[in-house]
């Protein structure tokens, strides 16, 4: 069975995915902020606020720290580019996106890692204490989270025997009983922890804080301003959208378009939005109900995620 790339259908599917994630990522961030505000008894900002913030940032002045090099300007572009390519080739709306044959587990994970590394270099480039602190913490969390992400997705790949994401989804559609396999449930647990860590949500990082002792991602990007801050924020929101929708699709691929017809793509878009919003609501509820962990308590959580993902692989191998 080969994955025929239908060029036109693939291009359309990838474009839909890009627009969905580029707009939907910031909206998901807004939605989660709203849910948190409501749960805390506040009204909260409108859901579209992150998009308005982006528009505002684009009109602001470009400022660079005095000792920064070209890396400071390049890093946001790498973050966005890696996210865009990962989104375009991932099976979100269709199982045949552009270059879907290259949508390998390792490609997606390492594209995300490239984005993280670029962000960390951007933080170090400013030559300040904050940038270094944020980069160091973010890379530490990433070094523990990305392996768990990789191993968790490998657990999903065991049943279908390929590391190609679209094929994993196609095979899952053909075997609905796989969804409740113990290894998949373990992998789901691991992936939830990883996604929370990778997107910098409570209990790993608090996106709303600017307190030296606790901030991770915000410290790393402290020197960014204007259009470049907009790029970084957009890139991060797209990563969040990608991870949420990948998790949703890997476990419940139903609704994804297997043929490139207009109707099926439309249905797939609607179902993707619904599934991803569900994941976002779940994560927001976790955020509301938990307190941020101390930095040095985090490894326990992330190691837990890694152990879960290894257990998932072992269970998958035993029950295969």
């Amino acid at each position: 069975m080969t994955l025929a790339i239908v060029p036109v259908g693939g291009v359309v599917a990838s474009l839909i995915q890009l627009v969905l994630v580029a707009l939907g990522g910031p909206l998901l961030v807004g939605l989660m902020a709203k849910v948190k505000a409501r749960a805390e008894g506040r009204v909260g900002a409108p859901i579209g606020q992150p998009l308005r913030d982006l528009r505002k940032l684009l009109t602001k002045e470009r400022l660079h720290a005095r000792h920064a090099s070209v890396v400071l300007a390049l890093a946001p572009m790498v973050i966005v580019a890696s996210a865009v390519v990962a989104v375009a080739i991932s099976p979100l709306v269709s199982t045949h996106p552009l270059l879907g044959s290259s949508a390998d587990i390792l490609v997606i994970v390492y594209l995300l890692l490239t984005g993280s590394a670029a962000a960390a270099l951007g933080g170090l480039d400013t030559g300040t204490a904050f940038g270094g602190m944020g980069s160091s913490r973010a890379m530490t969390i990433g070094a523990l989270a990305e392996p768990a992400l990789l191993v968790a997705v490998i657990a999903l790949s065991i049943q279908s025997g390929t590391s190609n994401l679209p094929r994993i989804m196609v095979d899952t559609l053909a075997h609905p009983d796989w969804v409740l396999a113990p290894s998949r449930l373990l992998a789901l647990g691991a992936l939830l922890i990883v996604v929370i860590a990778e997107t910098g949500r409570i209990p790993v990082d608090n996106p709303a804080t600017h307190l030296e002792l606790t901030m991770v991602h915000e410290a790393m990007i402290l020197e960014y301003a204007g259009p470049e801050l907009a790029m970084v924020t957009l890139g991060e929101a797209m990563r969040l959208g990608l991870l949420f929708s990948l998790v949703a699709n890997l476990f419940l691929p139903w609704g994804i378009a297997t043929h490139a017809t207009a109707l099926s793509l439309l249905g797939a878009t609607a179902s993707l939005i619904a599934k991803t919003v569900l994941v976002a609501l779940g994560v927001a509820l976790i955020e509301v109900r938990s307190a941020k962990l101390r930095l040095f308590r985090l490894p326990e959580l992330l190691a837990g995620g890694f152990v879960l993902s290894v257990l998932a692989v072992v269970t998958g191998l035993v029950t295969r």
Binding site: R62, S69, A81, S82, V107, G131, A143, S163, L295
Partner: protein, 664 residues
């Protein structure tokens, strides 16, 4: 042709020894580079045509003669050595000053290159051991080149000498066991007779040989010499040691295990893969916490060689599980990673040498801001570090992807012990991916970005043209293997078939990318690169379309304070501190805090000294006690010697009696 290449390199060694100082460096480098390029050409032709070159003479070595045979497996490793060798020669033109430009150092350097080219070609036990020992000896002398500037070189050389001699003895013993059942000492004879040996004998021989080769490859726990010796050697030598000499260890394991002993049994290869898993994790962990740039690179070599050994071990185990196709895939991954590693690690070691020359230090805690003064070196480091971090579209990614394909497909078919070890391999691959990213974000981010942390770093200048050319040459494979890995598929298929001694229909097909046909799996890095570049170009065009094209320079946020000093930045030590805490159980960091109080009051501090050290636990707990015991035994044995002639006569008499009793 290959002999011509060897003799050109050898003549470079002679030239280095006879010419006066000025032309010596240039002439020997030119000859060396020419010889290396010629050897590359020969290796490429063998890999393209699949033919085997053989040469034998009884003139050179007495009794046994001298035999060289290059098959595609050997050719692959010759390609690795010669590619890095050429770069090291060119780099040396700009680098060789002082001790490194002396007659002895230069000719040893050229001799070292000759042996690196000859070891994969040797086809008899004597020839292999001859070149193997020459390789050890020449590199050992090269470590001692500049003892005034590197005071630790002496201790490093002692460690290296002890380990490499023990390893060579082990290899020689293993090979002798293999030849013990008659037949000649040429590899063809050994291979033909080895199946007649009993299983226990073959396993015994393999374990001996594995210990020797694994210590050369830097596999944990036999790695202790590597993070000492590689940093202390002059940079072109470190580059060669770290990229091709460690590869010779891998070559030896493949040659003896797969060729001479015909694959043996599954547990051999499980042992190899387990060595790989331990090395990968241990090396990656130490690389993240090292602050000496070259030490970081050396530990990262331990890490990557670990991944290579995982591939070799998985290939051997799968072949013994009667899965030749997937074994072929895993071996291909291992071989590709060897070439990729040789290029990026070679480039990084050369860059470390350039940095040391420009700033006078290789301590990351004293560097910073070098991207402004050394932009070319910075670019080389970015590309090579990206390759090592497995950034998609660079060489490390293509190789690690192939390795993962081999392991994942192996899951489905192999027996339980093999599956367990491959699972460990996947875990190691995942964990080292994250740790390597930290190590190299640190190396580049702290070394090249931010503000200079010392006057040496502040006054650094870009390196000379020859050094830049050499570093640039070594970044070519990182990009080419990364973007069009398909180019290497035919070469790798030949080398891998020759390594596993089996011609299977390769699962790899060539496109612009790599497709693992039948098994399902493909990457198209060239298309990914186009996508990445297009998006970045669009974003750049967007920033240029804004009314304000250039960013205004402002002071960084200093919490309301005006003063921002370079000392406020994170250092390499502080960058890795969180991970050091996380893995404190393995790393056992030692910290000393010394507070000096003001004379008048204990409530005020005059100065505070903080020291953070990470000692190799295996060295401290494993080797140090061993050395202490040996030294104690040595001191006790010394008491036998008191200079009295009567006592020595008595010893002789007793010895004679013992011999008579035993013989009689």
């Amino acid at each position: 042709m290959f002999l011509a290449a060897l003799s050109i390199c050898a003549s470079a060694a002679v030239m280095a020894a006879v010419l006066p100082r000025r032309p010596r460096v240039v002439v020997s480098a030119a000859l060396g580079a020419l010889g290396c390029l010629l050897a590359s050409g020969v290796a490429l032709r063998i890999l393209l045509t699949g033919e085997t070159l053989a040469f034998h003479t009884s003139q050179v070595l007495p009794v046994t003669g001298f035999s060289l045979t290059i098959d595609p497996l050997g050719a692959w490793f010759i390609l690795v050595s010669s590619f890095v060798g050429a770069a090291a020669c060119v780099f040396n033109v700009g680098y060789a000053k002082g001790a490194m430009a002396s007659r002895s150092a230069l000719s040893m350097f050229m001799l070292f290159i000759v042996t690196l080219l000859a070891v994969p070609a040797a086809s008899s036990v004597m020839t292999l051991m001859f070149f193997w020992e020459m390789m050890a000896l020449s590199s050992w002398l090269l470590i001692l080149t500049d003892q005034t500037r590197h005071p630790d070189a002496r201790s490093a050389a002692l460690w290296y000498g002890a380990m490499t001699q023990a390893g060579a003895a082990s290899i020689l013993l293993g090979l002798l066991v293999m030849t013990s059942h008659g037949g000649g000492q040429s590899f063809a004879d050994v291979s033909a007779h080895s199946l007649a040996l009993s299983g226990v004998t073959r396993s015994f021989a393999f374990v001996l040989v594995l210990l020797g080769f694994a210590s050369k490859a830097g596999a944990v726990p036999l790695h202790v010499w590597l993070p000492k010796a590689h940093p202390e050697a002059p940079s072109p030598v470190s580059a060669l040691m770290s990229s091709s000499m460690v590869a010779m260890g891998v070559y030896g394991i493949i040659r003896v295990g797969e060729d001479l002993l015909h694959g043996g049994t599954v547990w051999w290869w499980i042992a190899v893969a387990l060595l790989g898993v331990v090395s990968a994790l241990y090396g990656a962990l130490h690389a993240t916490t090292s602050t000496d740039l070259k030490r970081l690179l050396a530990y990262s070599t331990v890490d990557i060689i670990g991944l290579v050994l995982i591939g070799v071990g998985a290939a051997g185990a799968l072949a013994d599980n009667a899965q030749p196709v997937i074994a072929h895939l895993a071996m291909t991954a291992a071989l590709m990673l060897v070439l990729a590693h040789a290029a990026f690690k070679g480039a990084l070691f050369l860059a470390a040498g350039a940095i040391e020359r420009a700033t006078g230090t290789r301590n990351l805690d004293l560097l910073g801001g070098l991207i402004h003064s050394m932009p070319v070196t910075a670019l080389v480091v970015v590309i090579s570090a990206g390759a090592i971090m497995a950034v998609p579209t660079l060489s490390g990614f293509s190789s690690e992807w192939l390795l993962l394909q081999g392991l994942l497909h192996g899951f489905r078919v192999a027996s339980t012990p093999t599956v367990i070890v491959m699972l460990l391999g996947v875990i190691a691959l995942a964990l080292t991916g994250g740790l390597t990213a930290v190590a190299f974000v640190k190396a580049f981010g702290i070394g090249f970005l931010g503000q200079a942390r010392s006057t040496g770093a502040a006054t650094a200048r870009e390196t000379s043209t020859s050094m830049r050319v050499a570093m640039g040459w070594l970044t070519i494979p990182s990009v080419v293997i990364g973007v069009v890995p398909g180019l290497f598929v035919p070469l790798l298929n030949r080398a891998s078939s020759s390594a596993l001694n089996a011609s299977v229909v390769s699962p790899l097909t060539r496109d612009t990318g790599v497709v693992v046909s039948k098994l399902g799996g493909a990457i198209e890095p060239a298309a990914l690169l186009v996508g990445l570049v297009a998006v970045m170009a669009l974003l750049w065009a967007f920033t240029q379309s804004l009314t304000q094209r250039r960013a205004r320079r402002v002071d960084a946020w200093g919490c309301g304070r005006e003063l921002q000093t370079p000392r406020m930045q994170y250092t390499a030590t502080s960058f890795a501190e969180p991970l050091q805490r996380v893995f404190a159980d393995v790393l056992r960091p030692q910290a000393d805090v010394e507070v000096t109080h003001v004379a008048e009051s204990r409530y005020y501090e005059q100065s505070l000294m903080y020291e953070n050290r990470i000692v190799d636990v295996l060295e401290a707990r494993g080797y140090r006690p061993l050395i202490a015991v040996t030294m104690r035994l040595g001191r006790q044995a010394r008491r036998l010697q008191n200079g009295s002639i009567n006592r020595y006569l008595a010893f002789g008499f007793v010895a004679l009696l013992v011999v008579l009793v035993v013989v009689g």
